[in-house]
Amino acid sequence: MSAALLIDILLWGSVLGVGLIAFRRGPPVFKASLREGSMDFINIVPRIALGVIGSGYIAAIIPQEVITGWLGPDSGWLGVASAVVAGAATPGGPVIGFSIGTVALKSGGGVPQVVAYVVAWALFAFQRVILWEIPFMPARFVWFRCAVSVPFPFVAAAIAMVIGKP
């Protein structure tokens, strides 16, 4: 119950908060943004549907073992590079991403490689990009954001190599 409920409370609390501010600017402002938000919702729903249902099928044809394989014994920069690919290709939500990271750590994966994996997963996991980012953001922004983010898992791995283990 806890985490999901807390998220919902925070979420609807924030909606209520900003809604109240909008309402105090006058009912027309409030109504306009309410309509705007509802229209966005209606426009977004088909894409979210495609994303949710679609990513289930895409995930089903990318078995987890393939991902774990990419996070294999390779150390050094080659290992970092394959960890980045693995992070982007990981299907499913945070449970799967972080579990794979934990397994890699426990089975002797290098710390910089696991950091690169987790950071790459956070930045590029295809499921989140398809399901959330593309429906909500202008497509041009999404591609641009992804392209610009490519160096940063490597930067994170480099920092990890310099400052050492947790």
Binding site: A3, I7, D8, L11, G13, S14, V15, V18, G19, I21, R25, V29, A32, S33, L34, G37, S38, D40, F41, N43, V45, L50, G51, V52, I53, G54, G56, Y57, I58, A60, I61, P94, V95, F98, T102, L105, V118, A122, L131, W132, E133, I134, P135, F136, M137, P138, A139, F141, V142, F144, R145, A147, V148, S149, F152, V155, A156, I159, A160, I163
Partner: protein, 203 residues
């Protein structure tokens, strides 16, 4: 206030009358078509491997997931709409716009780090910021900060699964990344889309 051109007396009204530039309005774009094709191929592969039962299994599971997500999506959309309505455009473009410098990237980073909720809030809000005058750089800083140093996912998933030590250490390593990503984004954007496109944003 004083810099406004004479024919724009009320900025709020101006914001109402023109369609929001950054908001997604096209129901179907290239990204959607590519994803739909990818989904069709994947579903066919699943069908050939597991038969109709396999396809139905995933469908029912994902439909229930979809049902659970919808209210949060609505909340995210409303949050984005309210925020874009109550934030003064002029102020946003000054503090998060192309000329906002390091400060704009830091504000974007801070905003992403404190934003509550998950992807269903982060992206609608980021889209709203784009619409009211934030540039790609500050918005990239916000999105990257939300995903790398935001507390939501860290508290709910990363700490329980990967442990507190690893998570805090990973976040510490990630601290400079949003600002760097935003700066790189700004650097590339100005060179990729010189002046004329910079203001009108979409299409």
């Amino acid at each position: 206030m004083s810099d406004l051109p004479p024919k724009a007396p009320a900025p709020a009204e101006d914001a109402e009358s023109e369609p929001r530039p950054g908001r997604v309005r096209k129901p179907i774009g290239w990204s959607t078509i590519i994803i739909a094709a990818l989904v069709a191929v994947s579903a066919t592969l699943v069908w050939r491997r597991d038969g109709s039962a396999g396809v139905l299994d995933i469908l029912t599971h994902d439909l229930s997931l979809f049902g659970g997500i919808l209210p949060r999506v609505l909340a995210g959309c409303l949050l984005g709409a309210f925020i874009s309505e109550i934030l003064p455009h002029e102020k946003v473009s000054r503090s998060l716009g192309p000329k906002s410098g390091l400060m704009g990237l830091l504000i974007g980073t801070a905003f992403g780090a404190i934003l509550p909720g998950g992807p269903f809030t982060a992206y609608p809000v980021a889209s709203a910021l784009l619409a009211v005058g934030a540039d790609f750089g500050a918005t990239i800083a916000m999105v990257v900060s939300w995903t790398l140093i935001g507390y939501g996912r860290a508290v709910a998933w990363e700490i329980p699964i990967m442990g507190t030590d690893f998570t805090l250490w990973r976040i510490a390593i990630s601290l400079p990344l949003p600002v760097l990503a935003g700066a790189l984004g700004r650097f590339v954007y100005v060179r990729l889309y010189p002046k004329p496109l910079a203001k009108g944003d979409e299409s």
